[in-house]
């Protein structure tokens, strides 16, 4: 029986498209982003009894009943879909592989207790590779979102702020948003908004106020590499990316969301992270440079394919 490679996820949690594209010419592959298919349950049900290798980047405790509660910024739709654990229960894959989409929080609460349902955890870097090796076979393949060739950027400032929790700023309006952020930006800090609705409009407005703003679509990894100090806010994955690349990383709590235990996770996993309560507190000249090694490496596509297809 021929093996089908099923690549599965939900919206922002689906980061396997490049892997799918790299494999689809040589292997029988099926890609499902449940938010783009009205009834993916029907497709999955047709795979029962088949030889399936299941590869997912989605949080495996999320499913149709709780996904839109977990991501309230998504507009709920009427798509019907299974969660990853439901797929494992239903299809009994010959192999199940987990590649995390979130570097800051690869596992949400309770998920580590279910990691043993997978046959392989493809870790982005340490400490995750070693930390979970007792529960599930692990292999380090680099960070899945870093698979583009790094292009050198000549920075205009030494410091850049990757602003997140952007929906809050959309709600308050661009004028108010700039007023709140100006005390930091006027210290010679560049800015990048996330790729989101209204990001271009905000980019234009901030540029008119004299702020150096990068296009939202510029690859974050390249910007991190180019700057000395990285400013973040909230529970953004940029925190982990910047920290693990070895950059001096700052996190601002004002106008940010951390969930139930996000702040504690940041403090525990990233002890050198410099956390400030308000924007006013941040004085660029007083930020202490840190000296961590770079442990984050580009995604190793050939190795990943080799591990997924191994018998």
């Amino acid at each position: 029986m021929k093996t089908l490679y099923l690549f599965y996820g939900f919206g922002c949690e689906y980061v396997l498209h490049d892997l799918f594209q790299a494999m689809e010419n040589d292997y029988e592959c099926l890609e499902i982003d449940v938010l783009t298919i009205p009834n993916s349950k029907k497709i999955i049900n047709q795979l029962i009894g088949k030889s399936v290798v299941f590869v997912t980047s989605a949080h495996f405790l999320l499913d149709q009943s709780n996904f839109f509660n977990y991501y309230p910024n998504y507009y709920p739709n009427k798509n019907t879909f299974y969660g990853p654990l439901e797929i494992i229960a239903l299809l009994k894959p010959i192999k199940s592989v987990y590649i995390p989409h979130d570097l800051t929080q690869p596992f949400i609460q309770y998920e580590d207790k279910f990691l043993n349902q997978f046959d392989l955890f493809l870790s982005p870097c340490e400490p995750y590779t070693s930390a979970y090796s007792l529960i599930c076979p692990t292999a380090e393949v680099g960070w899945v979102k870093y698979h583009q060739l790094a292009t050198t950027i000549k920075p205009r400032n030494k410091v850049i702020w990757f602003l997140s929790d952007f929906t809050l700023h959309v709600k308050m309006g661009k004028e108010k948003s700039y007023e709140i952020n100006a005390p930091l930006l006027t210290q010679g800090v560049s800015l990048k908004f996330p790729v989101w609705n209204s990001a271009d409009e905000f980019t234009q407005y901030y540029r008119m106020q004299g702020v150096d703003v990068y296009d939202p679509r510029v690859i974050s990894y390249n910007l991190i590499k180019a700057h000395d100090i990285i400013i973040t806010n909230g529970l953004s994955s940029i925190v982990a990316e910047s920290y693990l690349i070895g950059k001096t990383t700052v996190n601002i709590m004002e106008n940010s969301h951390y969930g139930a235990d996000g702040l504690q996770i940041l403090q525990t996993n990233y002890p050198e992270l410099q956390i400030y309560t308000t924007i006013q507190d941040v004085k660029i000249n007083n930020i202490l440079p840190t000296n961590q090694p770079c442990v984050l490496h580009p995604f190793d596509l050939p190795l990943t394919i080799k591990l997924i297809t191994a018998k």
Binding site: L85, E86, A89, L90, K113, F114, N116, Q117, L134
Partner: protein, 302 residues
């Protein structure tokens, strides 16, 4: 006569006031003395009571220190829904360290509740069982591998001999095991201790499911409400069915099922919404406590 009266009046009158005053004064003194005597007695009683309470307090302090030493500092996860958790766990630890061997008939009866299909070719973790008949019976039913966890009162000295681990309950969170299929906890004291601490992360090493025996109130079996409560009755911790399920779900299991004949109750774990009762055919019970077998599965049952 009237002159006698008059003379008597004039003779007695000066002394009358003195006599009355003396009487009153004596009365007041007596009253005062009496009150003082009573107060003295009360003060003595109070002193005695304070002394008694102080000695009780010292006893309690010793007890707390003893229970702390016994439990090895387990109380890092005190939950609001379990009042007297410290005392309850002390009783549980005393029970599982007691060395009392479960009757053979009980062991066989308990195991008979587990489907043979779950045991055959499975690797099993047995926690806190006292009768070696468990291993014999499980191997007879086709178990592939059995790892036993037994308990010792000595802290920080876990030992391993073949597939048998011996350790203090407070050292459970330091245990690293190979992956197993199922976990069995037949003793309610053991099961109660485990679920209150999310299995001490043993859930990460179990791939299929677990079976727990727990003492729950009969009336809570019928309820669909999320009534999370426990009560220490004597030396036994009694749960509501909802709390027992919640703690089992939090230990890393998506489905929890109980069954008694045709009566069946299922709950499902939702990451955002907590536990939801998906099926309940239990009849109403008014009162009483039952020892219930909870079956927990890692994966959803579709």
């Amino acid at each position: 006569m009237s002159s006698l009266k008059t003379n008597l009046y004039h003779f007695v009158k000066p002394y009358y006031r003195r006599i009355i005053n003396k009487l009153v004064s004596d009365f007041q003194i007596n009253e005062r003395n009496h009150a003082l005597a009573v107060a003295n007695v009360n003060i003595k009683n109070l002193h005695n009571k304070i002394g008694f309470l102080q000695s009780q307090q010292n006893n309690l302090l010793s007890l707390v220190q003893a229970t702390n030493a016994l439990s090895g500092g387990l109380y890092t996860g005190i939950t609001e829904v379990i009042p007297n958790q410290m005392l309850a766990e002390t009783y549980e630890i005393i029970q599982l360290l007691s060395g009392m061997v479960e009757p053979a008939t009980s062991a066989v009866t308990w195991l008979s509740q587990i489907p043979s299909s779950e045991i055959k070719n499975s690797s099993i973790i047995l926690v806190g069982v006292s009768n070696p008949l468990y291993q014999t019976e499980l191997f007879k039913k086709g178990a592939k591998k059995i790892t036993t966890i037994s308990f010792t009162p000595v802290l920080h000295s876990p030992s391993k001999s073949g597939s048998k681990y011996t350790l203090h309950p407070a050292d459970l969170d330091k245990l690293t095991l190979p992956i197993h299929d199922i976990l069995l906890a037949s003793d309610p004291s053991v099961a109660s201790l485990l679920i209150k601490h999310q299995l001490f992360n043993l859930g990460s090493f179990i791939t299929s499911g677990a079976y727990f025996s727990l003492n729950v109130t009969s009336s809570s079996l019928k309820s669909r409400q999320q009534y999370f409560k426990s009560e220490l009755r004597g030396s036994t911790l009694i749960y509501t069915d909802a709390l027992a399920r919640k703690l089992i779900h939090d230990s890393g299991f998506v489905e929890v099922i109980t069954q008694n004949g045709s009566a069946i109750k299922k709950s499902h774990f939702n990451y955002i919404k907590g536990l939801t009762i998906t099926k309940n055919t239990y009849p109403a019970h008014k009162s009483g406590v039952k020892s219930i077998l909870y079956r927990a599965t890692k994966l959803p049952i579709l």
